[in-house]
Amino acid sequence: MAQGASLAAVVAVWAAVVNARLFPGDIVPSPAAVAGRIVGLALSADFYGHLRVTAAEIAGGLALAAVAGILLGVAIGARPLLRRAYEPWLHYLAPTPKIVFFPVMLMLFGVGAASKVSLATLGAFFPIVLGTISGVREMDPVLVQVGRGFALSPYRMLTMVYVPAIRAALVNAVRLGFGVAVVVVLLAETKLSSAGIGYLIIDAYRHFDMPLLAALVLVLFGLAILANAGLARLARHGAPAVSR
């Protein structure tokens, strides 16, 4: 309810600003014009093609980052010596903007999806590996000993002990990684690409199609909200109270 009301208020202010002609009409389009373009997007097959490209780049990058981040995070987190050696470096590197590696990725992987996927992987890797390490550090060491005592293979140790034990930390880490992957992929698409939502946005800008630009940005907001809500749901699902 409150969320719906706040949305309506924003649209009302927006319409008022346009009507008052505070900005030239072709820079700030009216809500009606933008709504028309959103409907247009929703009906065009072309848009879904670009959406699929962007979604696949984000998903691919996130999946690779999750695999690498969880494997390395458990390997490092479970060994105090490795943890002391690597954790500080990972912490220092985590906040640096990954987009600066885009030229490198372009040279390595070309202008297609691969350069975006690799950039997303790099970006999402840091929050996931750090979240995994801290999850493993906090976990009850006797659970690891139980697994080892039953002579579990390394693979089963990972899937049957570590991952379920640090599930809450992992879901949070993947959510953070998702946020980074979205930013990095869209940014890279606006810089150099021939497909994806970021490409559509920059293309609309080049043609000075402000209603389309606004429509794309709004659609993007909507999708990000949906994806985040989905991940939050994932976090709440599953095991009951873990506390004893």
């Binding site: 000993q145 080892r148 005592g149 089963r156 002990v161 095991a239 109270a241």
Partner: protein, 291 residues
């Protein structure tokens, strides 16, 4: 020395009856020594400990707090390296965790994200057993420890004693040749301790499960064991081996018998000196005497 045998038997201990024929060693602990290097001092937690656990036997190791029992437990379970000496299972020297040994830990060790049934099925799942079969087997062990009806509960919904029963059932489901337990009842109240001890005793007597129990509780050691090894405090050595010749099968009224009281008194005489030494040392630490 002069022995041509590379696998010469361990030197006999006081009270050791390994010369008597008629039993085989399921587990041999041979001259095991473990030192911990902490900051400025070296702690000898286990010092030249040797003993055998016979096939089908219930053996207890008793000693005061801090004497190296858990250290020995982890060495035998293959979880702790960097010791000298050897641990043999079925004649082979162990390197790391071993399928033939099933461990029950001193600490809370159930998996909080798994139901009782799934906890007990854990080792079966890990060994690749199919879902229907492992849940079936797990249900058997759940009812064996008296938790029938609690299969779907989670550890957070159980009492401490029930959780410990889950841990025991989980290790029994692993079907180890040797059951190795580190003070599994330590966190329980006296009544639960005796009842759960009796449960383990009944299971052990029915299955002839070779069992090595680590404990600091004299009554528990007498109630359950065929033999009790008494450990010294710092360094942890074996001081005595006491035979508990209470008749078998034993039931829970064994603890009210005169013979039980005599055994408890005998063990206490053996342990008293060690326990007082442990206490005096920790008191010295508290009063700042130690450097």
């Amino acid at each position: 020395m002069t022995s041509p045998e590379p696998s010469a038997p361990v030197p006999p201990l006081s009270g050791d009856t390994s010369a008597v024929v008629g039993w085989t060693a399921a587990l041999r602990v041979m001259n095991v020594t473990k030192r911990f290097h902490t900051g400025r001092e070296i702690v000898t937690a286990v010092d030249d400990v040797s003993f055998d656990v016979r096939e089908g036997e219930f053996l207890s190791v008793i000693g005061p707090s801090g004497c190296g029992k858990s250290t020995l437990f982890k060495i035998i379970g293959g979880l702790l390296g960097g010791f000298s000496g050897e641990v043999r299972v079925g004649g082979r020297s162990i390197q790391g965790p071993h399928r033939d040994i099933g461990m029950v830990f001193q600490e809370e060790s159930t998996f909080p994200w798994r139901s009782v049934l799934d906890n007990v099925a854990f080792p079966l799942e890990a060994s690749g057993m199919g879902r229907a079969e492992r849940l079936d087997r797990a249900a058997h062990f759940v009812s064996l420890v008296g938790l029938k009806g609690f299969e779907r509960r989670f550890p957070s919904e159980l009492s401490g004693g029930m959780r410990q029963r889950v841990a025991i059932a989980r290790t029994l489901a692993f079907n180890p040749k040797i059951l190795l337990m580190d003070e599994p009842f330590a966190a329980l109240d006296e009544q639960t301790r005796y009842l759960l001890g009796d449960k383990v005793l009944q299971i052990q007597q029915a299955t002839k499960q070779t069992t090595l129990l680590i404990t600091h509780n004299i009554g528990e050691a007498v109630q359950l064991s065929d033999r009790v090894l008494v450990m010294t405090y710092r360094p942890g050595r074996i001081k005595a081996v006491v035979e508990v010749d209470l008749p078998r099968p034993r039931s829970d009224d064994v603890i009210t018998s005169d013979a039980f009281a005599r055994h408890v008194a005998g063990l206490w005489r053996n342990l008293k000196e060690e326990a007082s030494r442990g206490l005096a040392e920790s008191e010295a630490l508290v009063s700042g005497g130690a450097g």
